[in-house]
């Protein structure tokens, strides 16, 4: 299965991956509507980490042997076709997955007033996830493992 790889040496810290991720996971999927009219604003499932001039974008690694799936109390976190997906209707917000995730890429969706997990779903409707498609400097690439 293809994975998203980070080229931190060319990540320019523009945070546009976060913007496009948030839009992709908004109700309208329209950038202006999503940010201007959807309340609360959609939150991205990708995080740009920065320190000094070094930056890189990180999202769920969709681990082969995912600790979050193992740790999930309710079976909300599952592995499907190589992707780790969270069935939020089953999520009870115990945050165990957040505790065990070695990459720190599982977040709380509390901005939306919901006590459930928010994480990268690998853009299941698209051939190329939006963060990869819209990175202006090709710092995120989709490649075979």
């Amino acid at each position: 299965m293809k994975k998203i790889y980070v080229k931190e040496e060319v990540c320019i810290g523009c945070h546009l991956c976060e913007i496009y991720c948030a839009v992709q996971h908004s109700k309208s999927k329209n950038i202006i509507k999503a940010f201007k009219f959807e309340s609360p604003r959609p939150i991205p499932k990708i995080i740009v980490a920065e320190k000094g001039y070094i930056s890189f974008a990180l999202q769920c690694r969709h681990c082969e042997d995912a600790p979050c799936v193992e740790a999930c109390l309710t079976g909300a976190m599952r592995k499907e076709n190589g992707r780790i997906v969270c069935h939020t209707e089953k999520c009870v917000g115990c945050w165990t997955c957040i505790m065990v995730c070695p990459y720190g890429v599982v977040e709380r969706d509390i901005a939306n007033g919901r006590k459930v997990v928010s994480k990268c779903d690998f853009c299941p409707d698209l051939d190329v996830p939006v963060c990869v498609a819209y990175c202006p400097n090709e710092a995120l690439i989709l490649a075979e493992e």
Binding site: I12, C14, Y53
Partner: protein
């Protein structure tokens, strides 16, 4: 003190489209945009904007427009806004005005007054998609005559040929030093040169250890500061270029300020960390053609006569006479840099007022060398404002062997010609050593874009050559009958050695 300098540009933000994503804030090294958390708004300071269009290009909602400030002084055809602006700047700073890139003043552009021929009826055009076209060329000293020896029926070349540079297309990347441009930019030029079977030029910046692997496609420069020159540097290269002058600043040396001399640059240039890299205006060992001859031969001795030596001069009034001297001094290639040629930093007054158009200099030099019967002894490379494949083909028809492109290559990589190279804050990651900005030029993307540009130009050159019924770039060289001038005076036509359109 109240500044009288009004902003050059106005940044317009469409509030209905701005989503406060702060991409513009992060992308502007000149700190034009600022996020105000209390108001959840981004405000822009027009006075800092240089018009590089980085924020406009990165804005995900196209909320930004940067346009020229239509500031209206009282109409005056003589005291134009740029003239007034420069006086205000100098009255406030008391210093020499600096700038980057090439001469931007409205001097005549001779390329745009030269038209190409095409075949009709009596001489058939060639379809480059169906028939082979030859863009390959060789640079270096050519013999006066070839002696061929026939032994047992198979011909053998008796004449010993001087070392030659083989180019798959007659375009090279001109000298841009690591220091003036970022490492990633140099890397992209080197990789593109390798892919396209051509050469890039180190400029006076030395050769970074990581670029040694592209040395087969590298022309190394020996300039007045002698930065980065040692025996490995000379021996590893495909050719050596002695830089006497630069089109953007003839008669002027260079100055890379100490702040830009970071550790890798100090190692590459072989100077202490943080010290100013000063290139003197003259080579202190060259005050005559005889002195130049000594340096050319010293370099040839050092490299055991295995590689051609090029001498680069800025196109100035007596270029033809100087070029003749250069060839007689032993240069295998001469590079002419026109007044539109770019720079990382030059005094504005020099850039805008010194030197001559490359079209005229090229025609004059080619004429002079032909008249003296020494044209075969050196190849001519011209540069300085070559913008398109048509400029390339016109230059070749005027007599050039190959073309140097610098500005066009930078534009292909993303340069927007804001002319602020000398600030070291290039928002496009090209003319900067700031590690935060340098990353913006992804060498992979830049290499791809350079290769695309050269491939596109090669296709266009083939189309134009085919139209003229010529199937080899060698047959076009100095073929001024393929050119006609429009809107030129008799004197200009005479210097260019071309007929007016209609004859």
């Amino acid at each position: 003190m109240l500044s009288l300098i009004q902003p050059e540009f106005i940044v317009e933000r469409d509030r209905e489209k701005c989503i406060q994503c702060k991409a513009c804030v992060r992308q502007c090294a000149f700190e034009v945009h600022k996020y105000e958390p209390e108001d959840d708004e981004i405000v822009s300071d027009n006075s800092k904007c240089v018009g590089c269009q980085r924020c406009v290009s990165l804005c995900p909602t196209q909320a930004l427009t940067v346009r020229e400030n239509p500031l209206k002084f009282k109409e005056n055809a003589y005291w134009t806004p740029p003239v007034l602006r420069n006086i205000y700047k100098q009255a406030e700073s008391g210093g020499v005005l600096l700038t980057g890139m090439g001469n931007d003043r409205p001097y005549p552009i001779y390329w745009d007054h030269i038209l190409l021929n095409a075949s009709q009826v009596t001489n058939p055009p060639i379809d480059p998609l169906r028939e082979p076209m030859e863009l390959r060329t060789y640079l270096g000293r050519k013999p006066d005559a070839l002696e061929i020896h026939l032994s047992k029926g198979s011909p053998k070349l008796k004449t010993e040929l001087a070392p030659q540079l083989k180019l798959d297309m007659p375009i090279l990347f001109s000298a841009m030093s690591y220091g003036a441009i970022s490492f990633n930019t140099s890397l992209a030029l080197a990789r593109a040169a390798e892919i396209m079977g051509t050469y890039y030029n180190t400029g006076e910046g030395g050769l970074h250890p990581d670029l040694y692997k592209y040395s087969k496609n590298t022309i190394v420069q020996v300039a007045s500061g002698r930065f980065g020159v040692d025996i490995d540097y000379l021996n590893v290269a495909a050719a050596i270029e002695i830089k006497i002058g630069q089109g953007a600043k003839p008669g002027i040396g260079g100055h890379l300020p100490g702040e830009k001399v970071t550790e890798p640059i100090s190692l590459t240039r072989m100077i202490p960390d943080g010290t100013d890299a000063l290139s003197p205006a003259p080579h202190h060992d060259i005050y005559s053609i005889e002195d130049l001859r000594q340096l050319i031969h010293a370099l040839k001795e050092a490299t055991e006569y295995t590689k051609p030596v090029c001498v680069k001069i800025a196109a100035v009034h007596n270029s033809a006479a100087v070029a003749s001297g250069m060839v007689r001094a032993g240069a295998d290639m001469i590079a002419l840099d026109g007044f539109r040629g770019g720079t990382g930093a030059a005094p504005t007054v020099i850039r805008d007022n010194v030197g001559i158009p490359i079209e005229l200099a090229l025609a004059a030099v080619d004429n002079r060398l032909r008249k003296e019967g020494i044209r075969n002894q050196a190849s001519i490379i011209v540069g300085g404002g070559i913008r398109s494949s048509s400029d390339v083909i016109k230059a070749i028809a005027l007599g050039a062997d190959a073309i140097y492109i610098g500005t066009a290559a930078l534009v292909a990589m993303g340069c927007h010609m804001c002319q602020k190279c000398y600030t070291g804050k290039c928002n496009w990651g090209i003319a900067t050593q700031d590690p935060y900005l340098e990353k913006r030029l992804n060498p992979k993307i830049a290499t791809r874009r350079l290769v695309h540009l050269l491939n596109a130009w090669a296709l266009e050159i083939e189309e134009m050559m085919g139209g003229m019924g010529i199937n080899s770039i060698e047959s076009l060289r100095g073929n001024r009958l393929q050119l006609r001038g429009v809107g030129l005076t008799d004197t200009e036509l005479e210097i260019l050695g071309i007929l007016p359109a209609g004859i």
